[in-house]
Amino acid sequence: MTMLSDRQQLSYIAAQAADARVNVELETEGMTLNIGPQHPATHGTLRIIARLDGEQVVWAEPACGYMHRGYEKLAEVRTYPQVTTLVNRIDWLGSFANEVPFILAAEQLMEIEAPARAQWIRTLLFELSRIANVSLFLGDLGVQMGAITPVFMAFRDREYVLNLIEAATGGRFHPNFDRIGGLKDDLPAGFVAETRQVMKKLRNFCDEIEDLLFGNEIFQSRTRGIGVIPRDVALDYGLSGANLRASGVDWDLRRDQRLPMAWDKVDWKVWTHTDGDSFARCWVRLQETREATKLVDQLLDGLPSGPVMAKVPRIIKVPAGEAWVSTENPLGEMGYYVVSKGDLGPFRVKIRSASFNNISIVPWVLRGVYVPDIITILASLYFILGDIDR
C-alpha cells in the first residue's frame, strides 16, 4: 500500500469538500453564465465563465488575455532604464511599487546600492502607492456589495495621496521616478509637512471605512465564512500578500528578507487573520493601510540627509548574471527574475506578478459558491487586470 503524504491527503479532503458543496441532489438543467469581460466587478476586462447548477457554481474559469501586452518580450528589446516605463503599467494603481523590485534586481547585479536617503524615499513612495492602491480597494469593496458611499470617500481621500505622489514624481499614476543607483530627484519643498497632514486624513478614512463597512451587518454576512481558502491551499497556489496573510501565514516580504530599503529601520507590525474568508482578506488590507500610514510617519521622522543618486555610469551596462528580487507590493509578491548578458538591456525578464497567482485559485475557490458570492470573492481576492495579463 502506498503511503499518502499529508499534502496529498489534504488536497484530497479539499477536493471532496468542494464536491460536497456542490448540491448534486437538486439536479437541474445546467447553465453557463458569462461574467465580463465588461463587468464592474472585474476591474478591467477579466471574463469569468461559470457553469451553474441552479444558483450554485459547479465549475468556473477566468479567461485572461484581453489585456496581454507582452512586457516580458518587450523588456528584451529595451535598455534597463527604459524597462521601468513598461513595468509601471503592470499594477497601474500602485505604479511606483512595480519599479522598485526591477531596479533592485539591476542594482544587485551591478553590485551598487542607492544612498541612504534614496532608500528611505523609495520606501516612502512605495508605502504611499500602497495606500493609494488599497484605499481604492476599500472603497470599491462597498460598491460590490451595493453600498455606494465608501467609493466616493475612497476617491476623495486617494486624491490627496496621488497629489503627494505627483508633487514628488510628476506623475499621478506612472511616476517612472526610480533610477538605477537612486532616484530622479529629491523630495519637493513642503512635502514632509503636507504628507503628515494627508496621513492623518487617511487614518481617519480607515476608521470611517471600518465603522461604515466592516461593522455593517450586511457586509459581514456577505463576506464571513464565504470563499474560505485554507492555509495549505493558499501556499499551493502561490497566493501572496494580504490573501496569504488572511489565511494565517505570517509572512511579509518587507520584514522577512534583506533588501536595501528602510522597512527594517522603522517599527511596524504585520497583520494576519486566521479565518481565510473574504472578510479576513478585506480586514487584513484595511489594517495594512492604517499600518502603512504609521510607517510613512516614521519614515518622515527618520529621513536621512544626503544625495539621492549614487555614482553610476551614464550608459548603464549590467554585468552578466541572474538575479531574483521580489517585494511586498500592494497586491502581493511582485518579483522579477532578471537574466543579464552584460548588455544594455536584459536578456530575459520573468515578471512574477501577484494577481496572476492570486487569480489562478479562482476555479478552486468558486466551486460550490452561490452566484452573488462570485462578486464578493473576486473583490476580496483583489486583482488588477494589468497585473494578471502583464
Binding site: R7, C64, G65, H68, G70, E72, K73, L74, E76, V77, R78, T79, Q82, Q108, P115, R179, G182, K184, V233, L235, Y237, G238, D250, R255, D256, Q257, R258, K269, V270, W271, T272, H273, T274, D275, P307, M309, A310, K311, V312, P313, R314, I315, I316, G321, E322, A323, W324, E333, G335, Y337, K341, D343, L344, G345, R348, K350, R352, S360, W364, D389
Partner: protein, 225 residues
C-alpha cells in the same frame, strides 16, 4: 464593540533572516534525496540558491522540496530561451542588410546543455528561503513532467510556458492557450520569434542612450549626484 474576535496576532520572526548556512544545508538535503539527478548547485552567499536537476527528475525535485523539505510556497514557473536573438535588440535599420550575429548558446547560472531551460522558484513559508530550480529541456522533444500534482498553482504557469515557449508538460490535463488566441502560430517568447513592431519601423528610442551634450542640465543619466 469590535466584532473581530478571531484576530491572529503577528508572531514576529524579524530577527531570523535566511542565513547562508541554511542555504548550504538545503543543497545537501536535496542531494541526499535526489542523488546524481542533482546536476549542479550554486549558492551565492546572502543572495540565493540555484539548483539544476536532470529532466526526468523535474517532478521528483518538486516533490522533495515540497513534501520533505517544506518548501510549500509555489512562487512561479517559467522557462528561458538561451539562444541569442537573431534580431539583436530590434534596432537594425530595415533598409540595410542584417549584421552578423553570434548564435552561440551560453547558459546562465548552474550551467546546462540545451537551448530551452525550465526555471521555477519555491519558497519555504516559515524561514523564507527560496530555491531557484532549473532543468534542461531536450531540443528534439521539448517536454518535461508537469508540476500540477505537486503544486496546484503550477497549472496556469505551465499553460503560459507552453504557449510562450512551446514546452510540453507531460501529465497536464488542459494545455490550452492562456493568453494567446487558440489558432496563434509560433511561440512568442522564443528568441527566434521576431517582435514585429520592431521589424516594420526602426526604433527611435536608440537616441536615449547616446551621450548628451556636456553641461546639459536635463541630464537623466545621473553621472553626478
Amino acid at each position: 464593540m469590535s466584532p473581530l474576535s478571531s484576530v491572529g496576532d503577528a508572531t514576529s520572526v524579524a530577527g531570523e533572516l535566511p542565513g547562508d548556512a541554511r542555504r548550504e544545508q538545503i543543497v545537501d538535503e536535496l542531494r541526499r534525496h535526489l542523488g546524481d539527478a542533482l546536476l549542479e548547485s550554486v549558492v551565492v552567499p546572502g543572495v540565493d540558491v540555484w539548483i539544476r536537476v536532470r529532466t526526468d527528475a523535474w517532478r521528483r525535485a518538486g516533490e522533495v522540496l515540497s513534501d520533505e523539505l517544506g518548501f510549500t510556497y509555489f512562487c512561479f514557473l517559467s522557462a528561458v530561451d538561451w539562444l541569442p536573438s537573431p534580431y539583436g535588440r530590434g534596432e537594425d535599420d530595415p533598409t540595410e542588410p542584417a549584421p552578423e550575429r553570434s548564435s552561440e548558446i551560453v547558459q546562465g547560472v548552474a550551467g546546462g546543455e540545451t537551448r530551452l531551460q525550465m526555471l521555477a522558484r519555491v519558497v519555504h513559508p516559515a524561514h523564507h528561503v527560496g530555491v531557484n530550480l532549473k532543468c534542461d529541456v531536450p531540443d528534439d522533444r521539448p517536454t518535461v513532467p508537469s508540476w500540477i500534482p505537486v503544486f496546484a498553482g503550477a497549472n496556469w504557469h505551465e499553460r503560459e510556458t507552453h504557449e510562450m515557449f512551446g514546452i510540453g508538460f507531460a501529465g497536464h490535463p488542459d494545455l490550452r492557450n492562456l493568453y494567446l488566441p487558440t489558432d496563434f502560430e509560433g511561440h512568442p517568447l522564443r528568441k527566434d520569434f521576431p517582435l514585429l513592431a520592431r521589424m516594420v519601423k526602426p526604433w527611435p528610442g536608440i537616441v536615449d542612450v547616446e551621450p548628451m551634450p556636456a553641461g546639459d542640465a536635463d541630464d537623466e543619466g545621473g553621472d553626478e549626484s
